[in-house]
């Protein structure tokens, strides 16, 4: 049984269908055979009873007159009728027992001589004599002696409530046997035919039924180690239980996928936050002594001895320190300074600022700006975000490429959407895109996107990247209409 349990549904379902079909066919066939035999039997008994009662009634007069020959002629009538002599319907013999249960006359007079005791001739008659029917009994009395090949029908011959004798009609059982064989043969043939017709159908249905389950089980096996994309899973669409199971499975998979993405985002933003804190801390620690050093150099240049070597040395030091300061300042995105609200003039300034780069590369620059009524965002920060995005875009775009800027308000957000037709960013790099010193080209320091990220974070906004071949799109969403702590 254990072995059967492990068999694939692909085989198990058709196998069960086969068994079911066979059992049904067998049961049906047996029922038909049984019914056939029963019908034959009850037909025979009903016919014999009807005929027997007519005969018994006709026998009253001759028996009252003790007319043996007339009685014999009467019981011989059925044997004279041609139709009655059909082998499966005829009685073997008919016999009249007198009131003393001795043979009155029989259609086989040599076997049952007149006045003989039937028990002497056939011991089975003891059993038959015990079953002598009631005079008033309306149903036929049928006796089937033990291990006998005959079925006997007993009908009383009566006159005025007195038993004159009993009519005994003996029918051979052989027609039942032959009918049984012919019926069984027919039933077996029919069964085989049914099986031949239904079996392939059953196998086909069974396989069809098993197929979605097998698909589902295959799909489940494949979710490790990497979650498959929703498009990779092919399951049959239906509304039955298997279809619902498939849908639930897809839903579960989508949930898992979402969770995985969320986890990735959390990890990435946590990392960026940690980097941000580290950077800010280091920048502050550098900034304090740096200010002192730059002050000291400035003071010495104004008041100290002015020999050429010292001046030169100090200049080198000063330039280095300033570079450090600039770098640190770039890392340290400070939003503390007060700023006026972002407006249309800022957009015009940005256009002017990037114009030289656009022209240099013959880039087709388009802009769609709809910022009417937006006032709550600090202009300095937003300008920096837009400029950085546009400069990146221009830089990433090949000559004669396209750069599109779309600024509009969407619900409670200001949406800055910058797209370019440059080479796309590989998937692996997107995860680290906003970390400092992640440069996509040779020239940049890799701080532009870091700065954007820091500003967006400070403004409680979101930034996302979509990069497919021929289009890379950065979308920044900044919340509006709420108390900005920068104001």
């Amino acid at each position: 049984m254990l072995y059967l349990k492990n068999v694939s549904l692909k085989y198990k379902i058709p196998l069960r269908v086969t068994v079911l079909v066979s059992v049904t066919a067998f049961v049906l066939a047996s029922t038909l055979v049984y019914r056939g035999i029963e019908d034959l039997r009850s037909n025979l008994i009903a016919n014999a009873d009807r005929m027997g009662r007519v005969i018994a009634d006709t026998l009253v007069q001759p028996m009252l007159h003790d007319d043996v020959w007339r009685s014999l002629e009467i019981i011989n009538t059925p044997f004279r009728i041609q139709e009655y002599q059909a082998p499966d319907r005829g009685a073997e013999y008919i016999l009249i027992l007198n009131a003393a249960n001795k043979v009155y006359v029989a259609t086989q007079p040599e076997r049952f001589p007149m006045l003989s005791d039937p028990v002497d001739i056939e011991p089975r008659y003891t059993e038959i004599l015990k079953a002598l029917p009631d005079l008033r009994k309306p149903v036929p009395t049928v006796v089937e002696p033990y291990q006998s090949d005959n079925l006997l029908l007993l009908i009383p011959i009566q006159s005025d409530g007195m038993r004159l004798g009993t009519l005994v009609m003996s029918y051979p059982k052989s027609p039942f046997t032959s009918r049984f064989y012919s019926l069984t043969q027919g039933a077996i043939l029919t069964t085989l035919l049914v099986i031949i017709v239904l079996l392939p159908l059953g196998m086909y249905w069974g396989r069809k039924m098993a197929a979605p389950l097998l698909q589902l089980s295959d799909a489940m096996r494949n979710i490790t180690p990497n979650l498959p994309e929703p498009g990779e899973i092919i399951l049959e669409e239906s509304n039955d239980e298997i279809g619902q199971l498939g849908k639930a499975f897809k839903g579960m998979l989508a949930g898992l996928k979402e969770k995985e993405q969320l986890q990735q985002q959390v990890i990435s933003s946590n990392r960026l936050a940690a980097i941000g804190r580290l950077t800010a801390g280091i920048a502050h620690e550098i900034n304090n002594p740096l200010g002192g050093m730059l002050n000291a150099i400035s003071t010495y240049k104004r008041h100290g001895t002015q020999d050429a070597l010292t001046l030169k040395t100090l200049s080198i030091l000063e330039r280095g320190l300033i570079q450090i300061k600039e770098t640190v300042a770039a890392l340290l995105v400070e939003a503390k300074s007060k700023s006026r609200p972002f407006d249309r003039n800022d957009v015009e300034d940005i256009r002017t600022l990037i114009q030289p780069d656009v022209k240099a590369k013959h880039i087709n620059f388009t802009g769609e700006i709809d910022i009417a009524g937006i006032r709550s965002l600090p202009s300095t920060l937003v300008r920096q975000v837009i400029i950085n995005l546009l400069l990146n875009a221009v830089q990433a775009t090949q000559e004669h490429g396209q750069v599109r800027l779309d600024i509009h308000s969407d619900n409670d957000n200001l949406v800055i959407d910058v797209a370019n037709s440059g080479s796309h960013i590989p998937q692996g790099k997107i995860a680290y895109l906003f970390e400092p010193f992640t440069s996509l080209n040779e020239t940049g320091r890799g701080l532009g996107l870091w700065v954007i990220y820091q500003i967006v974070q400070q403004l409680d906004g979101q930034v996302s990247v979509q990069s497919v071949p021929d289009e890379t799109r950065f979308v920044v969403q900044l919340p509006l209409q709420r108390d900005n702590h920068h104001e």
């Binding site: 020959w69 006359v105 007149m114």
Partner: protein, 295 residues
């Protein structure tokens, strides 16, 4: 008077269709001759009987009705009451009713107006030599009023001081000679008494039936079952029927072939003396029967 005139008109109207289709206009006016038949011959051949009736009608120039009944007694009663004009019956009832019956004709069988009673047993029985061997067996008689099928064996038993009901286990009547042969052939009876003429005739037509029986003994010859007339039958009718019957053997067209089918040679007057043997037996049986019943 008006009523009888009406009846006459009705009768004429009824006769009209016959008059139009039959040449025997005068016949239909005369009442038919009624002849009773008993199974002293093979009376179960409806076609033959019809042909024979047609023959008689033609030659008597008068309608003929054949009347058949289940037993001899019924025919005898009908003839005695004048409800039949003639009857073909056994010599036994004739001799018992000689005062009211008149002998008309006796058939000639094998050239003689005589026949015998046969004692038959199933052909499987090779032992039985005489009636005495059948003691305690079942026996088939034809009709209680038959000479060959009852009186003769009864007489044999009476001579031995016995009678059928004590001698046989079961004695029964089949009401016809042919059925005696059947009863013995199927083994219902272990012996039977049968009209020898009927057995011989049956052997010609149905040898498969008679071959299942064996003749154990034959009786001395008796007068063949005769045609008799009732006491009220007009003499000219008797004479007319006698004429037709006697001439049948000479009538090449129809009569001869009918006699052939009856397995008879013709009809003769015969005379009462032919039946003296039967009369004696009847007297003997009656006396012994009376004696035994008185005892």
């Amino acid at each position: 008077m008006a009523r009888s005139a009406l009846i006459r008109i009705l009768f004429l109207l009824l006769a009209m269709p016959f008059a139009s289709c039959s040449h025997a206009t005068e016949q239909s006016a005369r009442p038919p001759i009624r002849i009773g038949l008993t199974p002293v011959f093979l009376d179960d051949q409806a076609t033959f009987i019809n042909e024979w009736r047609d023959y008689l009608q033609r030659h008597l120039d008068q309608p003929v009705t054949f009347v058949q009944r289940g037993t001899y007694r019924e025919i005898v009663d009908l003839l005695g009451k004048g409800k039949l004009d003639f009857a073909w019956l056994c010599g036994y009832p004739y001799v018992r009713n000689k005062k009211i019956f008149r002998l008309v004709a006796v058939p000639l069988y094998q050239g003689k107006p005589l026949y015998q009673s046969y004692l038959i047993v199933p052909s499987s029985d090779r032992q039985t030599q005489s009636l005495g061997d059948l003691r305690g067996k079942n026996f088939a008689f034809s009709d209680p009023d038959s000479n060959s099928g009852h009186l003769y064996p009864e007489y044999l038993l009476a001579k031995q001081g016995s009678n059928p009901s004590s001698f046989f286990a079961k004695a029964f009547f089949t009401w016809s000679h042919r059925k005696v042969v059947e009863a013995v052939a199927i083994g219902l009876a272990q012996g039977g008494a049968v009209d020898g003429y009927v057995w011989d005739t049956l052997a010609l037509a149905h040898p498969e039936l008679t071959s299942k029986t064996r003749i154990v003994s034959k009786s001395p010859p008796f007068g063949h079952p005769p045609f008799v007339a009732g006491i009220a039958t007009p003499r000219q009718d008797i004479a007319a029927l006698q004429q037709v019957l006697f001439r049948m053997t000479h009538d090449g067209e129809g009569g001869r072939s009918l006699l052939d089918r009856l397995n008879l040679d013709g009809f003769v007057y015969g005379g009462d003396r032919l039946f003296e043997g039967i009369e004696e037996m009847a007297k003997f049986v009656a006396e012994t029967g009376n004696n035994t019943s008185r005892k």
